[in-house]
Symmetry: C2
Subunit: 190 residues, 2 copies
């Protein structure tokens, strides 16, 4: 087959895959992780079940692919926020606010636990920890943040503290959580 | 049967059960959760396997009972620390140091996840959150801790931040984590 034809097929396959994951996203948004079933995904994507099964073996595989895409999007979003202008402390605050908002969206239950055991999550967590750690190190060097505790430890402190966002029901409470967490990073008054 | 006889039997059953859980504790300490098997428990408790099966249906049941006893002991330990003398902020620090040391001991893996899904853990977490929340409210009323965020939110912040202790390898790092976490509770300088 000519190269152009292969590229057309690849592009088509990619577009169908993305459409399937868009449907999964909508189903999760409307009814949680359990709402994603093969028949609903096929129907709402506008493809046959036989076609869907050529892309994904079961609903769990759809969810995993959707979740991987979500996590990648979140990392891009966080990197974009980090790269805005401001002092390290300001950029750190913006990154933590964004992360807390993401952590609030997290679904509960067995399926969520399963998704979060995936390697993509471990990888993303490591990436995010590195991002936060670098901002803290910058802030400590400039004097706005405490320099007497290793930045890697402070980064882990931040990310664990912000998991409390999962149980918060308001945006105001989420902002307070970030503000309190940042309080722990301030240099200790002598 | 006379009442005394029943009491003797009860006391005996209780002693055997405690001995089984003591063995489980030693096995976990030496080799982790997976080290607890019915044959090892029977052998090291000095009872027959048939006797052991009269008390527990399988190794998972032994682990669950051991874990329930652990969690109860930890709550007593935390309440004892809370009741020592000192300002609310000092007593809070002592409780959080104790809790961080406990959180550091937590085992990983599927079995640990299973144990922590137990109702006894939910109950203990609620109890601990209430204990921490009350100390924070006292400290806020006295002026040593920030009063502009609901104590319930601050308690959740503390307990989530301290889960970072699970990955820490030194006592010094654990102490720093508690110190940083307490930093988030200080009144914000104006």
């Amino acid at each position: 087959m000519p190269k152009l034809w292969n590229e057309t097929i690849d592009a088509h396959r990619h577009a169908v895959r993305e459409a399937i994951l868009d449907t999964a996203a909508k189903l999760v948004e409307a009814g949680g992780l359990r709402a994603v079933t093969m028949s609903k995904v096929a129907e709402q994507t506008g493809i046959g079940r036989a076609t869907l099964y050529k892309y994904f073996s079961d609903a769990e595989a759809v969810l995993l692919a959707w979740h991987e895409r979500q996590v990648t999007d979140h990392l891009h979003q966080l990197a974009e926020v980090r790269d805005r202008s401001g002092t390290p402390a300001e950029r750190l605050e913006a990154v933590l606010q964004t992360y807390a908002a993401i952590a609030r969206q997290r679904h509960g239950g067995e399926l969520a636990t399963l998704l979060h055991q995936g390697e993509h999550v471990t990888h993303a967590e490591r990436h995010l920890a590195g991002m936060v750690q670098a901002l803290i190190a910058e802030g400590a060097a400039e004097g706005g943040l405490r320099a007497d505790v290793p930045p890697a430890e402070l980064a882990q402190y931040c990310l664990h503290a912000l998991t409390a966002a999962g149980a918060l029901t308001s945006e105001a409470a989420t902002r307070r959580l970030v503000e309190v967490t940042l309080g722990g990073l301030r240099p200790v008054p002598r």
